[in-house]
Symmetry: C2
Subunit: 221 residues, 2 copies
């Protein structure tokens, strides 16, 4: 059945779908590298499609970015769930997720685009954020319960950490990713509970998800 309902896309229609994928891909890369100010034309160029096609699919730059944010978050959710499912050890799952998120193997794009916050919050975005939160909670709670992750680390720290770790530095994508992973290793070392260290409590309070959503969404205009 499945195929019968929508009909397997063929010809022109198939190209449109492929274009859409390339678009998301390109948008991820470009926004990650240049930030919100990246010219739309650059996205089109990298996707190998014309401006016309891009704007037919998404009515505005903002809509494009919104969609990309959702796709990005869903990708993180998938990576979190996969890590959880494939790694029996809670610490391994946690560490693997962070590494996957940074190297972003699935998408091929070198960086992940939590991107230009300060866009109006769509219902879809809110929903995606909720799913992301749930997934990260699972990951972090699991590690906490296993006693391998320092207790003063919250799940809301994860997106912020990723955002810090993906700081844009003007080197080749490959080297940038390598450096990101290097510093992730450092942070993982600091995150792991060690029975020897006592006085290493974090001094500033953890962020919570309310703070994150304020940070990600425009002040409800």
């Amino acid at each position: 059945m499945g195929d019968t309902q929508t009909g397997r896309p063929r010809g022109r229609r198939r190209e449109a779908d492929r274009n859409d994928e390339r678009l998301m891909q390109a948008a991820r890369e470009v926004f990650a590298e240049l930030g919100w100010d990246a010219p739309v034309s650059e996205i089109a160029r990298r996707a190998g499609i014309g401006m016309g096609s891009l704007y037919r699919r998404y009515p505005s730059k903002e809509m494009l970015a919104q969609r990309m944010r959702i796709v990005g978050m869903e990708q993180l959710v998938t990576q979190a769930r996969t890590a959880l499912a494939e790694e029996p050890d809670p610490w391994a799952a946690f560490a693997r997720f962070l590494r996957d998120a940074l190297s972003d193997q699935g998408a091929g794009g070198p960086l992940l685009p939590l991107v230009g916050g300060r866009l109006p919050a769509t219902d879809e975005i809110v929903a995606a954020a909720a799913r992301l939160r749930a997934a990260l909670d699972d990951l972090v709670d699991g590690a906490h319960r296993a006693g391998v992750l320092r207790a003063d680390f919250a799940s809301a720290d994860v997106p912020l950490l990723l955002e810090h770790l993906t700081a844009r530095i003007p080197v080749t994508d490959e080297r940038a990713t390598a450096l990101h992973l290097r510093y992730l290793d450092l942070i993982l070392a600091g995150l792991r509970t060690s029975t020897t260290d006592g006085p290493t409590a974090l001094q500033s309070p953890a962020p919570d998800w309310a703070e994150l959503s304020e940070l990600w969404n425009a002040p409800k205009k």
Copy 2:
């Protein structure tokens, strides 16, 4: 004597000097928050001076930024030297320097501006970078020799770490600094040599100063 030579600045001249300080201060803040694309007018606004005055002092935005980079680097050098002088314990000195650099107490500005690399390298910049390197080498070597800092951490990691840690997030300056310090604590925990952990070697190779200077300076045009 001393005063006789230049004459203690008075009146208009004195105001000009004060303006210059405010300018550097404002530039630090604004560039730190908005990045290289920050409008010059915003810097002037925050410094409380007019565009005319700004442009009489610095012939272009680029020159202004260059000077600011030098001032920023010198400030880091001072902080490093101070930490080294005032903290007998190598680890304490190292940690204190990083904390100082992030909270930037001396300047009053909330963030430090390693800023928009990719500007042509002035001789002055090269010299300042060399002094910075020397200071950081001292700090890192001291900790290494004391055996309190993991061996695979290089002095060239310091500027990169700072750059990562100061990732711009759109919250109040105070909260941003708090979060930066939070993640610094995490990294410090990971940086400290612990005799218990073996398998935590960093996977990506350390950066070196040659890489940094490429990253900071425009490809000699």
